[in-house]
């Protein structure tokens, strides 16, 4: 059980949740997630935990942070929690973004919607390299909090919104696509809706640029026992991969998209 330090609305239906995690022993890496229990005491409804990617983590201050959007039952319950209350979290879970061998220049991070959340901790880890961040969402209000955070890191960011013109009016994909005309990256990280992952991957594979995506699959358990989150491998001979254990981060070309 971790105590809530703050849980504030930072955009339209978007919340920033900060937990004190003194007891947490494991290291938390960019791309990993926690699975959060949202049923109250003596209650089995809602039954399943809800997975949220780690937005930020600091081992020194012992804080783990999330950014989430209220989209349904569970996230609405979460938004009603107050500082001082405690949450039951399972994690950190999943395989993180790989970082060790990214000493190359020109790293692009592409995030769509709430897929932006896990890219922040990643950017923090990579921030001494020349990284460029491409973010898209419905409107500026959904991006403001993220944009400020990335700006404070001192990394280069590009913004797009569907409903209004920022750098462009459109998706993160189109934003990035435009930029590719001036520079091809040496490695790409992408997180967001499957159509974004898929399109970025196709483009990158064509240009022979390696990279990783983080996929959001409906999860039952989050730790590998139920096979709810199976992703079919692109390699016909390989067995399925679990988004919660082998993923949510996969290399370009590793898994098929379907939803």
């Amino acid at each position: 059980m971790y105590e809530i330090f703050s849980n504030k609305e930072v955009g339209p239906d978007i919340y920033h949740l900060v937990l004190k995690c003194e007891g947490l022993e494991k290291e938390v890496k960019a791309g990993q997630f926690f699975n959060i229990k949202l049923s109250g005491i003596n209650s089995y409804d809602p039954l399943l935990r809800r997975p949220l990617s780690v937005f930020d983590f600091s081992n020194e201050s012992k804080r783990v942070e999330f950014v989430y959007k209220v989209v349904g039952k569970g996230t609405e319950i979460l938004a009603n929690y107050n500082p001082g209350e405690k949450l039951d979290l399972l994690g950190p879970l999943g395989s993180p973004f790989s970082i060790s061998d990214r000493q190359s220049a020109n790293i692009h991070l592409i995030g769509g919607g709430m897929g932006i959340a896990p890219l922040y901790l990643l950017a923090k880890k990579l921030k001494d390299l020349p990284i460029k961040v491409f973010l898209g969402a419905a409107n500026k209000a959904e991006l403001d909090f993220f944009a400020d955070k990335f700006k404070n890191l001192g990394v280069e960011i590009h913004l797009a919104a569907m409903e209004e013109k920022l750098e462009i009016k459109g998706t993160a994909l189109r934003l990035w696509d435009n930029y590719l005309k001036s520079e091809l990256p040496s490695f790409v990280y992408c997180c967001g809706p499957e159509p974004l992952l898929s399109a970025v991957e196709i483009k990158a594979l064509k240009e022979k640029i390696p990279g990783e995506i983080s996929i959001e699959k409906r999860m039952g358990c989050g730790f590998g026992v139920c096979l709810s989150c199976s992703c079919e491998s692109r390699n016909e001979n390989e067995k399925n991969k679990r988004a919660c254990v082998e993923g949510p981060v996969f290399a370009f070309g590793e898994v098929k998209y379907c939803e």
Partner: protein, 311 residues
């Protein structure tokens, strides 16, 4: 009463062969606990009474398309579709891991035809790693498959009998609740020589995505499990207890010590824990403690003395 005196052991009587002695009544429900490894990261699974593997089929299966899971009030609907590496890989890769555990292990087998079950029983016969088979005649997620057999007492009898002829270990026949009278299939399994029955598998169920205006699961229907179904499972165990001579493994929604006690009082000799593990990997440890406090409070020494006591 001191903790040392509390006796949680339970015996699964065998029809032929040796009775199985479990250190406590908790058995993992197939498909909700992987093959042990993942859960073992959270606690020593030897603390369970027994372990039941994820369902195996003759050939490897990729399972159904996703989404494979939907949430409902106090329940989940799954249509995993028996994703598994096939029995040969199971034998070569998963069974060796099983040697690391000291508790009895059941292999859960599923088939698309009666012959499949026999192939599986044959290949798994005399494997020292496993104590027995759980024959899943009730999987609702495969077309033309398990559930069709499971709702027909005659087919349950035929398949169970053939398996009994070729398999010498402990045989549990797992029954479907999607039937007018579960005692008919339970009795058929008993008559065929099964050592025990497990009830219940999931209830056939549906969820619709109202935004997409189509079934939420890629496979349309799925199986409902979790606390929501406990009252139905418990009724079936209670109803079967007096009619059967072989042990019943009760399961369906068990999430607490109270739930385990309900099943035992209704007549179960052991109890499966499924969905709860998905939310709380250490649930078994909590449940064992809850059972112990109940025994202490009521000054009962032997848990097994409560089997069927609510009748």
């Amino acid at each position: 009463m001191s903790d040392k005196k509390l006796d949680l052991r339970t015996i699964l009587k065998a029809n032929k062969g040796d009775d199985l002695k479990l250190s406590n009544p908790l058995i993992t429900a197939s498909g909700t606990c992987g093959n042990g490894e993942e859960l073992n990261d959270y606690f020593d699974i030897n603390k369970l009474g027994a372990f039941c593997t994820k369902g195996i089929t003759v050939d490897a299966q990729k399972g159904n398309k996703t989404p494979r899971i939907a949430e409902t009030a106090a329940g989940i609907i799954n249509s995993i579709g028996l994703e598994n590496p096939g029995v040969d890989t199971f034998i070569s890769e998963i069974l060796p891991q099983c040697r690391e555990y000291s508790l009895p292990i059941f292999a859960n087998i599923s088939g698309y035809s009666p012959e499949d079950f026999l192939t599986l029983a044959d290949k798994l016969n005399d494997r020292p790693e496993i104590a027995g088979l759980e024959v899943n005649l009730s999987c609702p997620n495969i077309k033309g498959g398990g559930m069709i057999f499971g709702t027909d007492p005659e087919k349950v009898y035929q398949i169970s009998k053939k398996i009994r002829e070729i398999y010498s270990g402990y045989i549990i026949v797992k029954l479907t609740p999607n039937i007018t009278d579960i005692t008919s299939t339970a009795l058929a399994a008993q008559k065929a020589g099964a050592d025990a029955v497990a009830m219940i598998n999931t209830l056939s169920a549906l969820k619709i995505d109202i935004d997409k205006q189509e079934p939420l699961l890629a496979n349309t229907f799925g199986g409902l499990s979790g606390p929501a179904i406990k009252p139905v499972a418990l009724k079936m165990v209670y109803q079967s207890y007096k009619k059967l001579e072989i042990p019943i493994i009760g399961l369906g929604g068990v999430s607490s010590g109270e739930d385990v006690l309900e099943f035992i009082l209704a007549g179960a000799s052991a109890v499966g824990i499924g969905t709860i593990n998905m939310l709380e990997p250490t649930a078994a440890l909590r449940i064992i403690e809850e059972i112990k406090s109940y025994l202490r409070k009521h000054k009962i020494q032997k848990l097994s003395s409560l089997i069927g006591a609510a009748h």
